[in-house]
C-alpha cells in the first residue's frame, strides 16, 4: 500500500470547478472520456437495435430470393442515390463542425451544424416523395398491399404528400413567427436559433421539390415499362396480372378511374400470361413482405434522422450562445458520432434495398 498522507486526508470544503465540468468529475479529461465511452456504447446499442431488422431482411431474402431480386425495381435508385449523397455531404459538414468547435470557433461550428440540419431535412423531403408515390400506387406493408399501376402527370401532388407535409408547414410558420417575435424583443440568439430552425424545415421542402423533379424525369421511363410488359421485371408483370384479375369484377363499376392504367398494359397481357402468372401466383402478394421490411427499416432510420435533427438543434443553440471551447466541446463530438452512425446505417440500407440483384 502506498503511504497515506493522513494529515491532508480530508477533502477541501470548497471546490472551484470550471463552469462546464459536472461536480462528480475530477477534471475535464475524465468528463470527456466518460462522455466519449458513453456515446460509443450507445452507438453499439443502436447498431444492435437495427440488427433485428437486418436479420429479418437476411432471412426473408434467403427464403424468398425471387421477391427480393424483383421487388427493388419499385424503388427509385436515383432518389436513393441522391439521398446517399445528401447524407454523405452532411457527414462532411458535421465533421467540419466538430473541428470548428474543437478550435473554439462557435460561429463556424454553428454554420456547419446548420448545413447538416438542412441536409437531414432534405433527406426527409426526398423520403416523403418516395413514400407518397408508393402509397399512391398501393404499395403498402404486406396486409395492405394492392398494387395499382398508373402514371401520374409530372409534379402531381399526392394526397399522402400533403398529409406528410402538414407538420413541416406548421413548424415552418411557427419558427418564422418565433424568429420575428424574438427579434422584436431583441433576443438575438433566440431569433437566430428560430431562423435556423426555419431554414432547416425549408430544407424539407427543397427535398420535396428535388424529389418531384426526379420523379418527373423518371415518369417517362416508368410509362415505357408499363407499355411493354415483356421488358418489365417479372414481378411487375405478375402484379399487373394480379391486379387485372382483381379488378375484373368491379373495374367497370368503378367507371373510368383505372381506364388509363388498364389500357396501357392491355396489349401485353397475352404475352405475360404464359410464364409469370402460372409460375408464381403468390409472387405479387409476397412482394408485400419486402415492403414491410423496407418500411420498417427506412421508417426506423427516418425516426433516427428526426432525433438527429433535434440533437443537432441543441448543438446549434449552444453554438449561438458560444459554449464551445477548445477544452470543452464534448457534446458536439458525441452528436457528431451519432450522426455518422445514422449515415452509416443508410449506407447499408441503400444497396441492400435499392441495388440488390
Amino acid at each position: 500500500m502506498a503511504v497515506v498522507d493522513t494529515d491532508n486526508i480530508l477533502e477541501e470544503e470548497h471546490h472551484h470547478h470550471e463552469p462546464f465540468i459536472a461536480h462528480h468529475f475530477d477534471d475535464a479529461e475524465q468528463q470527456f472520456d466518460s462522455g466519449k465511452l458513453g456515446i460509443w456504447l450507445f452507438l453499439v446499442t443502436e447498431i444492435l437495435f437495427f440488427s433485428g431488422l437486418f436479420v429479418a431482411y437476411t432471412l426473408y431474402r434467403i427464403h424468398h430470393p425471387e421477391i427480393f431480386e424483383q421487388a427493388h425495381h419499385f424503388l427509385d435508385k436515383r432518389l436513393g442515390a441522391l439521398n446517399t449523397i445528401v447524407l454523405l455531404f452532411s457527414s462532411l459538414t458535421m465533421a467540419l463542425g466538430v473541428h470548428a468547435a474543437q478550435n473554439g470557433d462557435n460561429k463556424k461550428c454553428g454554420l456547419y451544424v446548420l448545413i447538416t440540419m438542412v441536409c437531414a431535412a432534405m433527406f426527409l423531403g426526398v423520403k416523403a416523395i418516395e413514400y407518397s408515390h408508393k402509397w399512391d400506387l398501393g404499395i403498402f406493408v404486406r396486409s395492405e398491399f394492392s398494387y395499382h399501376p398508373h402514371t401520374a402527370e409530372p409534379f402531381h401532388v399526392s394526397p399522402y404528400l400533403i398529409k406528410l407535409s402538414v407538420i413541416p408547414v406548421l413548424l415552418l410558420v411557427g419558427f418564422i413567427a418565433a424568429s420575428f417575435f424574438a427579434r422584436a424583443s431583441s433576443k438575438v440568439a433566440l431569433s437566430k436559433f428560430m431562423g435556423g430552425l426555419a431554414i432547416t424545415v425549408g430544407g424539407y421542402f427543397v427535398g420535396v421539390l428535388i424529389g418531384m423533379t426526379f420523379m418527373a424525369l423518371t415518369a417517362e421511363n416508368e410509362h415505357a415499362q408499363l407499355e411493354s410488359p415483356s421488358q418489365a421485371p417479372l414481378v411487375l408483370r405478375a402484379l399487373t396480372l394480379d391486379d387485372d384479375k382483381h379488378d375484373d369484377g368491379h373495374a367497370d363499376a368503378d367507371g373510368d378511374a383505372h381506364a388509363d392504367g388498364d389500357h396501357s398494359h392491355a396489349d401485353g397481357e397475352d404475352h405475360a400470361h404464359g410464364d409469370s402468372h402460372a409460375k408464381s401466383p403468390d409472387l405479387g402478394r409476397d412482394v408485400g413482405i419486402f415492403f414491410s421490411i423496407y418500411y420498417c427499416m427506412t421508417g426506423l432510420h427516418a425516426i433516427h434522422i428526426i432525433a438527429g435533427i433535434v440533437a443537432l438543434a441543441w448543438i446549434y443553440w449552444r453554438c449561438l450562445v458560444v459554449h464551445w471551447r477548445p477544452d470543452y466541446f464534448g457534446p458536439v463530438d458525441y452528436v457528431g458520432l451519432y450522426w455518422h452512425l445514422v449515415d452509416l446505417i443508410w449506407i447499408y440500407l441503400f444497396p441492400l434495398l435499392y441495388l440488390i440483384d
Binding site: 446499442t45 444492435l48 418500411y295
Partner: protein
C-alpha cells in the same frame, strides 16, 4: 496516523447525510444522487415484488384443488402472465443492479456519483413509466394472457392488451440499458486513483458483466417488441404466418434477449454472494480472478445458447445439438464460482448472521437450480420435461432461490450503510429460515410432479397431482410470509434500529469508509485504498465502536498485521 478529531469527523455518524441534507418530495423526485435513486429504485422494485407475489399466491391457492379454485380459465391465464411479466421486467432485472448496485457501485470505486446522473434518474422514471404500462394492461380491463414471452401468433390474435404490455416492456428495456451503460462507463473512467481492475470488489465485476449483457441484448428485445407491435397493428407479415411470416423467428429474437436476460438476473446476485461469503468468513476470497473472469465468461457464453428454449420448436437437429452443447458449457464458469465460494468458507471464521444465512441459502438453492438446468439442456430429457412443472421449478430455483435470496442477503449486508441503523439479527435469521423452508416446500414438489408429466400453465389438473400442489401452496404461503417478514425487519430497523458505526462488519471495500449513512458526496475524505478482501487492513476503534482503516487508527492501539495470506 490521524488525530481523534479527524477520525470522528470521518467515521462518526454525521448530523447531515444524503437522506436529510435536503428535504421535501422535490428533493427526491429531481435528485441526481445515485444513493437516493438507488433507494427509490428499491422502493419501486419492492412494490413490484409484492404485487407480482400477490398474483403468485392467488395462482397457488387456485391450484390447491385439482379442478381449480376460484379463477376462470381466462383469469388464470391473465394472472400467470402478469405474475411473470411484472416479476421479470419490473422486479428481477432491475432489482440487484438498479437498487443495490446504484447505491454501492460509485462508493466502491471512491466516486461521487455515476458517470451520467441525469441518465440514471431517467432510467428510474422509465422504469416507472414501463411498469405503469404493464399495470395499465390490468387496469384497462383488457388484461394480458400471452405469457410473459408474448409468443406469436397468439400475441397477434388475442384481444387482450398486448400493445400496452409490450410497449411497457420496451420502455423497461431502455431503463435497463441506461443503467448498464452508466455502470460500464463509471467503472471504466471513474475508479479511485490506483484502483486497478483487480482491486475491484467482485460485485463490480459481476455488475460490469451484467451491463455488457444489458447493452448488447436489450436493444434486440426492443426492436423485436416494436416489430410485434407493428405486426399487431399493421400486419407486416414478418411474424404472422397468415401473411407469410415466421412465428419461430419471433422465438429466436425473443430468446436472443431473454436467455442473456437470465444472466442479467443472476450475475449481480452472484456478485453479492462473493462479497457476503468473503466478509462473513473474514477470509480473502478464494480464486479472485477465476470468479471475476467467470462472470465475463458467463456473460459471453450466454449469448450462444438461446436455442435451448426452442428444442421442440422444430429447429434443425444439428442446431439443437450445438445449442445443447454450449448450454452445458455454461455450467463450467457457474461451477467455478460455487467451488470458489465453498473454498472461501473453508477454515474461515464464519459469522452466521442474517446476510450470511441468506448467502448460504443462495449457494444451496442456486446449486439445485443450476444442476436441474442440465436436465433441461440435455436433448432427450428435455423432450420429456419441456413445458412441465420441472421447468417452472428449475427457473424459480435460479430466479427466486438465486436472485431474490441474494437481494435479501445484500439488503441485510448494506442496510446499516444505507440507513445507519442495525436490524434485529435474530428476527432476520428467522425470516431467512422461513424463506428457505417455504421456498423448498414450494418448488421441490414441482420437480416431482413435473417429472411425472404435470404440464405448466394449466388451470386444472389430474387428481393424482393434487397432493404436490397442496404442498406447494403451503410452501408459497410460508415463503410469502418470510419475504414479508424480512422486509418488515428491515423497515423497522431503518426507523427504530440501533445506531451503528461506519463499518460494523469489518469489510474492506471502499463503501465502508464512508459514514453510515453516507454524506451527500459519499466521502468527506480521500478514501484509503486496500485490497477489497484484505480484512486485516481494518482495525477496531474503541471510541467509535466500529472498524476503520489501520492507517487512520490510533497507533498506540493498533494490533500488528497478521502475515498476509497467500494462495
Amino acid at each position: 496516523m490521524a488525530s481523534a478529531e479527524i477520525r470522528n469527523k470521518i467515521f462518526d455518524t454525521p448530523e447531515t447525510n444524503y437522506l436529510n441534507h435536503t428535504r421535501g418530495w422535490k428533493s427526491w423526485a429531481f435528485t441526481l444522487d445515485h444513493k437516493r435513486i438507488g433507494v427509490m429504485y428499491l422502493i419501486g422494485v419492492t412494490i413490484a415484488l409484492f404485487l407480482a407475489g400477490a398474483f403468485a399466491l392467488v395462482l397457488r391457492w387456485h391450484l390447491f384443488w385439482f379442478e381449480g379454485g376460484f379463477l376462470s380459465n381466462e383469469m388464470y391465464n391473465q394472472m400467470f402472465t402478469l405474475h411473470g411479466a411484472i416479476m421479470v421486467f419490473s422486479f428481477i432485472i432491475p432489482s440487484v443492479p438498479a437498487a443495490l448496485g446504484n447505491f454501492v457501485l460509485p462508493m466502491m470505486i471512491g466516486a461521487k456519483d455515476v458517470a451520467f446522473p441525469r441518465m440514471n434518474l431517467m432510467s428510474f422514471y422509465l422504469w416507472i413509466a414501463g411498469t405503469c404500462c404493464l399495470a395499465a394492461a390490468i387496469l384497462s380491463g383488457y388484461g394480458l394472457d400471452t405469457g410473459w414471452t408474448f409468443y406469436t401468433p397468439y400475441s397477434i390474435e388475442t384481444s387482450t392488451g398486448v400493445i400496452f404490455a409490450t410497449f411497457g416492456a420496451f420502455i423497461l428495456g431502455f431503463s435497463s440499458i441506461f443503467t448498464g451503460l452508466n455502470f460500464l462507463v463509471t467503472v471504466n473512467t471513474m475508479r479511485a486513483p490506483g484502483q486497478s481492475w483487480f482491486k475491484l470488489p467482485l460485485f463490480l465485476w459481476s455488475l460490469y458483466a451484467t451491463s455488457i449483457i444489458q447493452i448488447l441484448a436489450t436493444p434486440v428485445l426492443g426492436i423485436t417488441l416494436l416489430m410485434l407491435i407493428a405486426e399487431r397493428t399493421m400486419h407486416i407479415g414478418i411474424f404472422d404466418p397468415k401473411y407469410g411470416g415466421d412465428p419461430v423467428l419471433f422465438q429466436h429474437f425473443f430468446w436472443f434477449y431473454s436467455h442473456p436476460a437470465v444472466y442479467i438476473m443472476i450475475l449481480p446476485a452472484m456478485g453479492v454472494i462473493s462479497e457476503l461469503i468473503s466478509v462473513y468468513s473474514q477470509k480473502r476470497i478464494f480464486g479472485y480472478s477465476f470468479i471475476a473472469f467467470s462472470s465475463v465468461a458467463i456473460a459471453l457464453l450466454g449469448f450462444l445458447v438461446w436455442g435451448h428454449h426452442m428444442f421442440t420448436s422444430g429447429q434443425s437437429p444439428m442446431v439443437t445439438l450445438i445449442f445443447s452443447a454450449i448450454t452445458f458449457t455454461v455450467a463450467i464458469p457457474s461451477a467455478v464460482k460455487v467451488f470458489n465460494w465453498l473454498a472461501t468458507l473453508y477454515k474461515g471464521s464464519i459469522l452466521l448472521n442474517t446476510p450470511m444465512c441468506y448467502a448460504l441459502s443462495f449457494i444451496f438453492l442456486f446449486g439445485i437450480g443450476g444442476l436441474t438446468g442440465l436436465f433441461l439442456g440435455a436433448l432427450s430429457t428435455d423432450i420429456h420435461l419441456h413445458d412441465t412443472y420441472f421447468v417452472v421449478a428449475h427457473f424459480h430455483f435460479v430466479m427466486v432461490g438465486g436472485t431474490l435470496t441474494a437481494l435479501l442477503g445484500g439488503l441485510f449486508h448494506w442496510w446499516p450503510k444505507m440507513f445507519g441503523r442495525m436490524y434485529n439479527d435474530m428476527l432476520g435469521r428467522i425470516s431467512c429460515f422461513l424463506v428457505f423452508a417455504g421456498f423448498n416446500l414450494t418448488f421441490f414438489p414441482q420437480f416431482v410432479m413435473g417429472s411425472r408429466g404435470m404440464p405448466r400453465r394449466y388451470a386444472s389438473y389430474d387428481p393424482e397431482f393434487q397432493i404436490f400442489h397442496q404442498w406447494s401452496t403451503f410452501g408459497a404461503s410460508i415463503l410469502g410470509f418470510g419475504i414479508l417478514m424480512s422486509f418488515g425487519v428491515l423497515l423497522y430497523a431503518a426507523f427504530y434500529g440501533k445506531r451503528c458505526g461506519a463499518n460494523p462488519f469489518k469489510a474492506a471495500s471502499l463503501e465502508w469508509q464512508s459514514s453510515s449513512p453516507p454524506d451527500f458526496h459519499n466521502f468527506i475524505h480521500k478514501p484509503i485504498l486496500h485490497d477489497p478482501y484484505d480484512f486485516d487492513s481494518q482495525v477496531y476503534d474503541k471510541d467509535l465502536d466500529t472498524y476503520i482503516p489501520r492507517e487512520l487508527a490510533d497507533p498506540k492501539t493498533v494490533p500488528p498485521r497478521r502475515e498476509p495470506v497467500h494462495h
